[in-house]
Symmetry: D2
Subunit: 333 residues, 4 copies
């Protein structure tokens, strides 16, 4: 039984709390949120305590592991503190928006020996993972083209956008990690294009809502990513991997396999699952279960701190490419 | 927390045991099987006791409910005994192969007031249920044609076939219940055709392995069911409801949304989920949860004893139709 | 170059005229219709003559072949007259509604030696034919289940329904022929169910608008056909053949491969092609080309008089099955 | 009746010859090819003459129009000569590989007043065109993302590759035109990535076989194009247009709507149509018919010389982007 402290009781924190609570192998011991009522609500739902502070939560011997679902700017401090307290860590992406802080954090936790798992949910999706597995098994031969489509069902308020770090560090970072996961190598070049087509106010903060990114891997494999902050038909998540021997595609999932035929349309499928919490619900469970395995068996997570750092490196390079109109070499050191 | 006794620790009993054990709202108290090692294995897996007898299990005050997953010929006795012991009952289909015994059971438990839920898993499948809901909501107008395809991935050994009660009472009974569920009325006529095309030994026991059944409802709606004991491509479960305003279809589910393109085939989907335990895994969970709700809230199950009895009545009439070459009127009294 | 006389200048006659006119291997010589303006219009469109009478058309030495697209009750007389005049014949289905007249026609033309091809368009559809070819090539092993869905986009006026011969001889006759084509054997038993759910006035003329038919072949293969006179989503034409080694399906065709995603629906396909003239447009061309080949090369058509007669025999047996509530043995002699 | 001279009797010339010959509104008058036996074969098949020279063909008063399907380096001279001879022109893409020669040609034919239609077949494909029409009709609101996938079923021999002009001027040029067609505006920026992953010998001639291109339009709409010289599963041609109100996709076409289910795969679709001659067979017919309309009615073609020139401008800019690793501004003047 793995005892958890949860940091952050917002939408995604509440979901993680429910997953922890539903597991017979885990127990939600305490919840901390800077907004105390949020912590109280989630704690009450699952019979957990409200922690008075991060330090108090980390001092609790019943806490084996922490799940970090608080705002991005708190991640590094929480990772560092938890690592020094000897707690295993499951942290939502990104580690931080500032690569210097990430590097510092890397050094600070280097000798703690705790397991740090990053919440890159796409890696746990059955279909995206099946693409990776097919590529890894050589089913499509040498990978040549990889296409990732990732579009959100709605744009966040401008208050959030202002602190999001920009589309590449906030949204595309998932796709950069997914690309590395499927490529099984680190991309070395990036170019990027972007437009403001949805939320005009983004122009003032130098961000975009519509973007395309191209990556190139050492093998020569090319990756295309396209993002939109607003797809009216819902949360669109697809992957296509093309190689010397064929192609595999991960299509969207639906709530059911229903097809509808009416006077106006035929063979229409069910709406897309609303957003990440619905689309990746099983992935979040599988991610948690892998983390519990790591804690229980003292093994290393499949997706770790270094993956979080590298995704941020790519995001920064993509930003530079977008701003400079050049293909930018990606340097991971 | 609902305490369960499990009767029958075979494949489907083991699955139910795991579902009970995984629920935070239920506890597996004891397991009974005529084959004691099977009971021991399942009990040990989930920290439950092995019951020395049915009577002992029913005498246990920690047991609120029984889950009957033993062989068909034991169902009636177990239902009757459990009902008289005041235990709620979740029983796998069919109630019995002999309608007279079912009628007797109905009388015997009439005044016990216990909840009896039948394990018609199709009703809990998200897509089949979405078809029912669309029809009930009037989305396709008056239902006119209903097509049910149900084909197994492999045929059972002849020892089982000899006691199965024949294809209609063993296999099609699920489809008869599903038809009633979607029709929302009781079919009044049935005709049937069948052939032995897979297992020649079936001819000697007067059974078939390939069948088509047509039902007619009082509204005039027509129902087609086709069954095969062996589909080499897997467990094929589809429903199509056609009406005055359109059509809805429940397509097969897959383990993932992967599509494959090779030199030999394009756009190939994942294999079908192997058999009922995989295909209806979520349905079995939802079925159990509904039953736990019924026990906890003392409400009536959505699918009850009467549904089990009516499905058997239709199966018997279909058998008569097959043998006589006539359209047979279905009488439920 | 094959010279054609066209009998019947209605909707389907006009389509055949256009196909003949567009072929560089055929010429439309003359058109006859009891309604002279219809003949004049079609003849004028394609630079053909209006024939003053059937006899005049048949006396024209430039006429090598006749295409019969007039009302059903005229088919037998026209076939007989054309055969006696030594003209090759492409006749729309059915030969006649009265099996006695068909038998008489068979005797009357027995020694004329002319090619008679029946207009069973489904046989020329690329996808339906691919099902037949896959079955014939043994791709799915022994055929066990055959499902045919055939639903019209709209019901004809009651004046037509009164002379249509009933749903089985008018509409299902195409499916009976298609079943024979794919089975490659003649079904020996039929049962049928039907309802009036679309046009209440049909009850008074003892017809139905919603029907299901089951056929059994000597091999044991079972066939299901379902028909509706009104599918609001369009002309629905599908075939599914299931056998010992797998399954093949012929899905509906669309005007394009477009998919639409909106706020209300995802992955919606194009509307179905409106009705038989659109859905089977290529089939009508291929049918005509095969007929021209037969005339040019003096070979026998792939689908002939006997196929037309047998389809009517099945339709009559189905009608008897519907009326009697019995499975009826089909006798072709 | 439009009389045609055909220049070039290779694979695509032979196809055009057959289309001209099959039309009742056109006649193939003469064929010229530098390889005389090729011209003789095509001419003989369709009862046309072999022209002794280009000049002889252009001097023939029965020739109203020329179809240019010869090698790329002959296009400009043939266009110029034909225009000066007053013949309407349907020319295969590209106009030339050298933009200076294209500019010169533009000046040379400026005052001839003849119709010049470019053979951009994608514009005539029913599904690709339906995407354009949906966008133009505002069905998806403002266009934001456009994705074009174009992959060949096999790579041409190195002799051809050496004179092809490189992947962008040879292959992607179709996609550049298609992008302009759907965007309804001229892209102003391009970036590009490429790899040699199929034919190592391409490296020596500074070409690539695997490429991704990003375009940006004045509206902010972003376009992704991906190309491969070898897709083992066949000729893959897809378009996806995403906008403020939804998405439309043009999927691949198949020879039939057959689906296959076997022990190894389910729901597999028919192979893709082999290559451009099969995939765009109807498009080539529609293209020819539009051209015949233009000649007959003296109207301007929908896709003209200027479209050919602009596609080449984009291809050149893409090449510069690939070589420089910069986003390149596209200048059409």
């Amino acid at each position: 039984m793995v005892g958890f402290a949860l940091f952050g009781a917002g939408r995604i924190g509440a979901m993680h709390a429910a997953n922890i609570a539903a597991s017979k192998r885990a127990a939600l011991k305490c919840v901390y949120d800077v907004h105390a009522p949020a912590a109280q609500k989630v704690a009450a739902q699952h019979g957990a305590q409200v922690a008075g502070s991060v330090a108090a939560a980390l001092a609790d011997p019943a806490v084996d592991a922490v799940l970090i679902a608080s705002s991005t700017d708190t991640h590094v401090d929480l990772i560092t503190a938890a690592a020094k307290a000897g707690k295993a860590i499951l942290c939502e992406k990104p580690i931080d928006l500032d690569i210097a802080r990430v590097e510092q954090c890397r050094r600070d936790i280097a000798n703690t020996g705790v397991a740090v798992q990053l919440g890159f949910n796409r890696r746990y999706d059955a279909s995206h993972r099946a693409v990776r597995d097919a590529v890894a098994a050589g089913e499509i031969g040498q990978l040549q083209l990889l296409l990732i489509t990732s579009r959100d069902p709605g744009i966040a308020p401008m208050e959030y956008m202002k602190v999001s770090g920009g589309i590449f560090r906030d949204m595309t970072i998932h796709d950069f990690d997914l690309a590395r996961f499927i490529l099984n190598e680190d991309p070395v070049e990036v170019s990027a294009s972007g437009s403001v087509m949805i939320e005009p106010a983004l122009a003032a903060i130098n961000d975009v809502d519509t973007a395309m990114v191209t990556l190139k891997a050492p093998s020569g494999a090319l990756v295309h990513i396209n993002n939109s902050r607003l797809a009216v038909y819902g949360y669109d998540q697809r992957v296509e991997a093309f190689g010397a021997k064929g192609m595999v595609q991960s299509e969207n999932w639906r709530a059911s396999s229903l097809r509808r035929w009416t006077a106006h349309t035929t063979d229409a499928q069910e709406p897309l699952l609303h957003f990440f919490i619905q689309r990746y619900s099983q992935a979040y469970l599988d991610e948690l279960n892998e983390f519990i395995d790591c804690v229980a068996n003292k093994t290393a997570p499949g997706v770790g701190f270094e993956d979080g750092r590298k995704a941020l490196v790519i995001a920064n390079a993509a930003w530079e490419a977008l701003r400079s109109g050049r293909t930018v070499a990606i340097r991971y050191d």
